[in-house]
């Protein structure tokens, strides 16, 4: 106490106090605004996980995203993208990118789920961002499928197609098929807006709505096709292709058979 009292009048103390006050205010604000992402703070807390994540990051990601995740000409900054974005991109194999292109394609994941979480923790430690959704958040069992269908057609179908089979965007970009997406991935995608997808934050699409959409997509993935073979549920083009190949082969084959002279 004595030492503190002795330096109380030191000229630098004004600056120190100012920084302290700014730190407290900023900290409180930061904690207050990211209050829902409690998982985030849990991850931030684990220092060894962050260290390990940083090592993996420097090894596998920094050549494009920069040594401090500040981004560059080859890749965007990752400061503030949050753990959810890292988990989505790495767990689906989209990152690390195999080759530059219009869009990162889905591949087999390169990192284990533990490594993925470590990298997510490292990125989350740089700045606050959307956290990996909890099991509670992606629990869609009570959601209304029909409501999810309406929301899906309003928000998702124009790119991902009504049956979730995906669709084309401009210049070689595309909205991927949702047929192999897990509930967690769907939630993370809505939360973080990967690639060309817009962000559907909790302010525009609250958690119950996201759950309803997940319920609808899962239903699309699992639902049987009542009318027989579904032909990929890609619509009239595939139906036309099937008609002009298989069906007409059968019909013209029958015509040739009947037109043959009896021997």
């Amino acid at each position: 106490m004595k030492a503190l009292a002795a330096h109380r009048r030191h000229p630098i103390m004004g600056l120190v106090l100012l920084l302290l006050a700014l730190g407290v205010v900023g900290g409180v604000y930061g904690v207050a605004t990211t209050a829902p992402s409690s998982a985030d703070t849990a991850l931030v807390g684990d220092q060894t996980q962050i260290e390990e994540g940083r090592r993996l990051y420097l090894e596998g990601c920094s050549s494009c995203h920069g040594l401090n995740a500040e981004g560059g000409s080859a890749g965007p900054t990752l400061i503030g993208v949050g753990a959810a974005a890292v988990h989505f991109q790495v767990a689906t194999g989209r990152m690390p990118l195999a080759a530059p292109g219009a869009q990162a394609p889905v591949k087999d994941a390169i990192y284990t789920s533990e490594e993925t979480l470590q990298m997510a923790a490292y990125i989350a430690s740089l700045a606050p961002g959307p956290a990996i959704p909890t099991a509670e958040q992606i629990d869609y069992t009570d959601a209304d499928i029909a409501e999810g269908g309406v929301l899906f057609r309003i928000n998702c179908a124009q790119c991902h197609q009504a049956a979730g089979q995906g669709g084309a965007l401009t210049q070689g970009k595309y909205a991927p098929s949702l047929m192999s997406a897990t509930p967690q991935e769907i939630y993370e995608a809505m939360l973080t807006g990967p690639q060309n997808m817009p962000i559907f934050a909790d302010t525009t699409l609250p958690t119950p709505d996201k759950q309803a959409i997940i319920a609808y997509v899962v239903d699309l993935q699992q639902a049987p096709s009542p009318g027989g073979l579904s032909l990929g549920r890609l619509g009239p083009v595939v139906e036309g292709l099937f008609l002009w190949t298989a069906v007409f082969a059968a019909l013209i084959g029958a015509a040739v058979w009947i037109g043959m002279r009896a021997r």
């Binding site: 219009a102 209304d144 499928i145 029909a146 409501e147 269908g149 309406v150 057609r153 309003i154 179908a157 124009q158 790119c159 991902h160 197609q161 009504a162 049956a163 089979q165 995906g166 669709g167 084309a168 965007l169 401009t170 210049q171 070689g172 595309y174 909205a175 609808y216 239903d219 699309l220 639902a223 096709s225 009542p226 009318g227 027989g228 073979l229 579904s230 032909l231 549920r233 890609l234 619509g235 009239p236 083009v237 595939v238 139906e239 036309g240 099937f242 008609l243 002009w244 069906v247 007409f248 059968a250 019909l251 013209i252 029958a254 015509a255 058979w257 009947i258 037109g259 043959m260 002279r261």
Partner: protein, 581 residues
């Protein structure tokens, strides 16, 4: 008399005493139809249309053409409680509540697709074989009318379920109506009963789909068939077939059995297909609301080329005097299809004007013998195919990992480049085949056998054509067409020729059509050629004599040679040794 004969005779007698039908039936049941598988393509269209009619009647029992909003309470869970129109709800009910409803709905849709496709392949057959020539031009025009009506029937049916796809299609149709200069807005109001999507619209569309268009189709199909009956069916050239006879089977019993059997085959294929393969899962697409659209929105295949034309068209618009002219819609959706269908309907008259050919044709052309016509046909198919790719450009992009912009530019260029190229290549192939035919007529087949003559000369032995093939090739001699001569600018007295411009255009077109054909050999040349073939056969004859001697078989792995009079041939000996093994 057996019982069948008794009953048959009794029925015929009963009808004849009241209707006088025996004379007519006696003549017409013996009517002869030529036999070829490609003559049955039109039948596929007829039979699939019957299936469309039968299933369509079933669907009208349950479908409600109403845009009144209701809450869905049916058994399809993912739509439960959703607001939708009665039209859409009743379509869902047909699919999920009505017994057998989904099967019938799918039969209706599949057979509609087959109907238009069968019309198209039937049209190919008629076009490429020149079956539209005099006296059948009017039946061709009716056929084109039927094709357009079939497109209308299909599109109106596609729009009735009021799902997301049909609503989007209707919105495009409305845009097309609006793009017509001056009357566009009013035309759209008239069609849709006011602003989109209107209130009375569905019942109007329903009337068009189940009454107006089917009525017209049935009427025109009847005329189409009556004309075939009256004018008799064309036939391919062949042995004993001339321009003034029909070689084939009588209607009863052969052709009736064939046609009747084919009806059941087509019906069976459609039913099996509809039971096994899903088409238009409206429950997936959801109810139509004007603010929604799904990726991969496509029309059924027969509208795909028009959609493709819209998709590849650059975004051109002109604003004049405060009015917007939407070339981006007007050209691909109104002008281009308008020109194509008009040209199609008028083609027989154009060709007969160019050729100056006013003869009746009951013998078909082989496509190779009309190279320009065949070229135009292939060119049109390539053009259509490219627009088809345009209609599915988004699926092409995702399936083949391409950029949709690159596909659009590829099509904008190839739509002008590839069809002429296809024309040139097709014409060349046709001419090459004509040369081959000419050679065959002159020298017969190349047998592949090289013969060395006693004085050292090598010749390839040719074999004479059989009569059947010769008859087919000889047909070209009668159908040969000379290009018209260029007209004179002035007549002998120096008076100016008033029709010079038109006549010279006609002569130049005629030149384009017929100048390159390979002239077939004359009958004298053919006879000389056949004599030559016979001479070669004579030269080869000693070899055959040698072959026909006792030593015919080559020994099998040390087997016994067969000599005349020996108990077993080599083949028998071989078979025998196998059995004992």
């Amino acid at each position: 008399m057996s019982i069948t004969e008794k009953v048959g005779a009794g029925t015929a007698d009963f009808a004849d005493q009241r209707l006088g039908s025996n004379k007519w039936l006696g003549k017409n049941l013996k009517k002869v139809f030529p036999d070829h598988w490609s003559f049955m393509l039109g039948e596929i269209a007829l039979y699939s249309f019957m299936v469309v009619l039968i299933t369509g009647v079933f669907l009208t029992l349950f479908y409600k053409p109403s845009l009144v909003e209701v809450v869905y309470e049916g058994s399809y869970v993912p739509l439960k409680g959703v607001m939708m129109t009665e039209a859409y709800a009743s379509t869902l009910d047909i699919s999920f509540e009505v017994r057998g409803g989904l099967l019938i709905r799918q039969m209706h849709h599949w057979s509609a697709l087959i109907f238009v496709a069968a019309i198209s392949v039937h049209l190919f057959r008629v076009f490429f074989t020149g079956a539209f020539r005099k006296p059948r031009e009017l039946n061709w025009v009716i056929g084109v009318g039927l094709l357009v009506l079939a497109l209308g029937a299909g599109f109106s049916g596609y729009s009735l379920p009021d799902d997301l796809l049909s609503g989007t299609g209707l919105q495009i149709a409305r845009g097309i109506a609006q793009s017509i200069p001056i009357i566009g807005t009013w035309a759209a109001f008239l069609l849709f009963d006011g602003e989109f999507p209107g209130v009375d619209f569905m019942s109007r569309l329903y009337m068009v789909h189940i009454l107006l268009i089917p009525g017209l189709i049935i009427g025109l199909v009847t005329v189409h068939l009556m004309m075939v009956w009256y004018q008799k069916h064309t036939q391919f050239p062949g042995q004993g077939r001339t321009n003034s006879n029909v070689v084939g089977y009588p209607l009863l019993p052969v052709y009736m059995a064939k046609a009747g059997g084919f009806f059941f085959i087509v019906f069976g294929i459609i039913t099996m297909l509809s039971g096994l393969v899903n088409i238009n899962p409206v429950w997936i697409f959801g109810p139509y609301t004007p603010d929604q659209v799904t990726a991969g929105t496509q029309p059924d295949w027969y509208i795909g080329w028009l959609d493709g034309a819209l998709r590849v068209m650059p975004n051109w618009e002109t604003v004049a005097f405060g009015f917007t002219l939407s070339w981006n819609i007007l050209i691909p959706a109104v002008i281009v299809p308008g020109l194509i269908f008009t040209a199609m309907a008028l083609y027989p008259f154009l060709e007969s004007w160019v050729s100056g050919d006013k003869r009746e044709h009951h013998l078909l052309d082989r496509p190779r013998n009309a190279p320009v016509r065949t070229g135009i046909g292939v060119m049109s198919i390539v053009f259509y195919g490219l627009l088809w790719i345009g209609g599915g450009n988004d699926l092409m992009a995702t399936t083949f990992n391409l950029s949709i912009n690159a596909i659009t530019w590829f099509l904008r260029i190839t739509l002008f480049l590839l069809p002429p190229l296809a024309f040139i290549i097709t014409k060349r192939i046709c001419l090459a085949l004509q040369r081959k035919d000419r050679d065959k007529l002159l020298h017969g087949y190349e047998s592949g056998r090289i013969l060395r003559l006693p004085h050292g000369e090598f010749i390839e032995v040719h074999q004479p054509l059989n009569n059947k093939e010769k008859a087919i090739l000889m047909a070209k001699l009668d159908s040969e067409q000379e290009p018209l001569a260029l007209p004179a600018k002035t007549d002998a007295n120096g008076v100016k020729n008033k029709g010079y411009r038109v006549e010279s255009l006609r002569a130049r077109l005629s030149h384009f059509y017929f100048a390159d054909t390979i002239a077939p050999p004359t009958r004298e040349e053919i006879e000389a050629g056949q004599a030559h073939v016979a001479h070669e056969a004579e030269l080869e004859a000693p070899l055959h004599e040698y072959e026909e001697e006792a030593y015919v078989q080559v020994p099998f792995h040390g087997g016994v040679l067969h000599r005349e009079g020996a108990p077993m041939t080599n083949a028998e000996a071989l078979e025998d040794s196998r059995r004992t093994d």
